[in-house]
Symmetry: C2
């Protein structure tokens, strides 16, 4: 606990220096960080080896081991990532709005750093470097708390990053790693209201919910995605099939992948066999309600639990509805407010769907897979917010900043 | 508890209807609300009488009684307020940003309602009507939880507002009041994550901190203000005196009033007697550090506790510093991130102050009293945010909305 308070104080001090750096200075530091990660690759890989051995001994699952594993190419892409962040436009100093009041006060709303950002995340060590690079460019100090499986790797990575900070005479405590991976320390971090301006959790839906429940620091929830595609009557069924195959199978493990197909009963007879055939090469486990099972007799009958589940896998459940009203009601009831799509050729239906569906991103005639900071053109992504405060949808550099009002006068007093 | 869950469900249902109302419909409802408040004035005043009698019997302090008391003119201004909100521009539907990606996806970031807003506040019954009017215009349902002293008044006011909703065939549960004023129910409201999109507390600094500590729902902290005016060397001392008198005495009970004077030692000898004289008619209790007391021997010696205290009263403490660095360090250490001013004629100093001071609003040569939604031209104010997430500074209608991304395509899939 005492250690955390000290880390918080040091981060706050570092943040004050960071906020004053010019874009040129910050980009130089990011490039030095990249170089330092490259130079320290042998140390980083050796540390990762230790993590891998411990994880194997502790019986960590293969899918987790894959996420934990670093090699030359993965370390290279971390360094590339830092160089890429250097190339991005600096959000700090942007005048978001500005106007002059009747008495001549010139008011500017200026983009400023958040201050100190906490990141709490599970296994993948690349989050350490990604998060450190983005928060640094956004002018904030960061306190990182990764999973215990990746502790050695994270320590080696953060050591490389801090080496670069020292080289560039920038406060070393701009980037700090919590090495005590106990639950008590994690909880204390979530409640470090005096020092943290925001906490961003990254990991499973369960993990994020745990953070939301325990945190006293403001949290930006990043998202689980139980995403739907609704195929309307009169839709282009070839287009619908292409979108479904893409949204379901292009990368099923991520949050913007489609999990549920909702179909208007008027097109179900024709669409479902097309979809089933197109998904066959991907070996997708299809489930459906009774009406869907009448059309595709070989699929499993979906249970109530299916409608709310984010599979993150080659599984898809199909719901047949009578009309748009039912589709909207079903989606708003079961979705996680992430990404939802309608395939339609009906103007009024497209308008109703985009207005009435409650989600961070609502699509007409496109795959849900585009919900992504890079696809949006932000050049970076620190997560996808599924909450409605501060940021909603993909979060790039702008979304991890704050603003302040600067008011220039010539002696104005209030009447 | 069960009651709260039901209220949450009803609010969510109402919010869906609210989100689809046109501006014309919402404005019509607001005008009907105003008429209903006027028609129900006798009932409202009778209810307030009961609250006043109870409060007097329970020995509630005079300053609290003043806040609780309603009369014809105070009820009239609540109704006027609702009509004024009807006249404000509707934030919903604004396209905040929009662009087209390389593959032809047309992305719009559109302003949408937050959904369900919780308001938790202390005695003043006018907050009930203000908050209900603003959240309604912003398209969100509201669950209100006022102080127990104002329960009868709040019930009469909410009954009048709901009467208007019924007249206009809008979901009555757009505006709900929690009538169980127990602490347990307040805590349950703060943790109603399934139904509340945000919780806005209004009241004393202590009250708001209690809410921040207990809430699991995202909170927008509205602000306590330990505001400083720093008078730089070379400043126009007449201007400085005018600003100090205004910032300190124009309305000392509010959060944007000045609490502390920080003075560069080069101008202290000349400035302090001017300030003391100008404040004399207001009977301000002056306190100061040792150097200030050398110049103004009659003032009280300030204690460490003074520097961090928001007096909200005719009290001001004076700190003398050697230079701008010390001024910035002192202010950043003790301020509550609300409103801070420099009086200077030095360009470089004005730039450093606005960049380095960490506060929602930073002034050059103007009174801190302008930190206000009306003075900013927002036409309304639901509070002043001193946190860095979502909204910082005065919050008008825009600040109680969210956004969603709407993406229109023609069959795009991700490569």
């Amino acid at each position: 606990m005492i250690q955390l308070t000290e880390m918080g104080q040091n981060a706050k001090k570092a943040a004050q220096q960071l906020a004053q750096l010019s874009t040129i200075q910050k980009n130089q530091v990011l490039k030095t960080m990249a170089a330092s990660v490259r130079t320290n690759t042998p140390k980083i890989l050796a540390a990762n080896d230790m993590d891998m051995k411990n994880a194997q001994q502790n019986g960590v699952k293969k899918v987790m081991l894959d996420r934990l594993k670093l090699d030359q190419s993965r370390v290279d892409s971390m360094a590339d990532g830092l160089e890429h962040v250097a190339d991005l436009a600096d959000p700090i100093g942007e005048v978001v709005k500005g106007w002059t009041t009747e008495t001549g006060l010139a008011i500017s709303q200026v983009r400023v750093p958040l201050g100190v950002i906490g990141m709490i995340y599970e296994a993948r060590p690349n989050v350490t470097v990604d998060a450190a690079g983005l928060t640094f460019k956004a002018g904030s100090a960061v306190i990182l708390r990764g999973g215990k499986e990746a502790l050695q790797s994270n320590q080696a990575l953060v050591a490389a990053l801090r080496e670069a900070l020292i080289t560039e005479s920038v406060a070393e405590d701009s980037i700090q790693l919590i090495t005590d991976t106990s639950h008590e320390t994690a909880t204390a971090l979530m409640q470090l209201t005096e020092y943290l301006d925001v906490l961003i959790p990254r990991g499973s839906a369960k993990f994020i919910q745990m953070v939301v429940q325990k945190a006293k620091v403001p949290v930006i929830e990043t998202g689980s995605g139980n995403c739907h595609v609704y195929v309307d009557e009169g839709a282009d069924l070839k287009m619908a099939t292409d979108i479904i195959v893409n949204a379901k199978t292009q990368r099923p493990s991520v949050c913007n992948a489609m999990e549920k197909l909702v179909v208007n009963q008027k097109v179900a007879d024709q669409l479902l066999p097309m979809v089933a055939k197109a998904l066959q090469p991907f070996n997708v486990d299809l489930r459906g309600d009774e009406r869907a099972k009448e059309i595709l007799p070989n699929i499993t009958l979906a249970t109530e639990a299916d409608w709310g589940t984010e599979y993150n896998d080659y599984i898809m459940a199909i719901k047949i509805v009578d009309n748009l009203d039912q589709a909207i009601a079903h989606i708003n009831h079961y979705n996680t407010k992430h990404s939802e799509a309608i395939v339609t050729n009906n103007y009024a239906h497209s308008e109703r769907f985009t207005k009435e569906i409650d989600a961070a991103v609502v699509y007409v005639n496109a795959s849900t897979r585009f919900t992504d900071g890079f696809e949006f053109g932000f050049g970076a992504e620190i997560g996808i917010s599924t909450q409605k405060l501060h940021a909603r949808g993909p979060m790039g550099l702008n979304e991890i900043t704050s603003t302040k009002y600067v008011i220039r006068g010539n002696g104005q007093v209030r009447k």
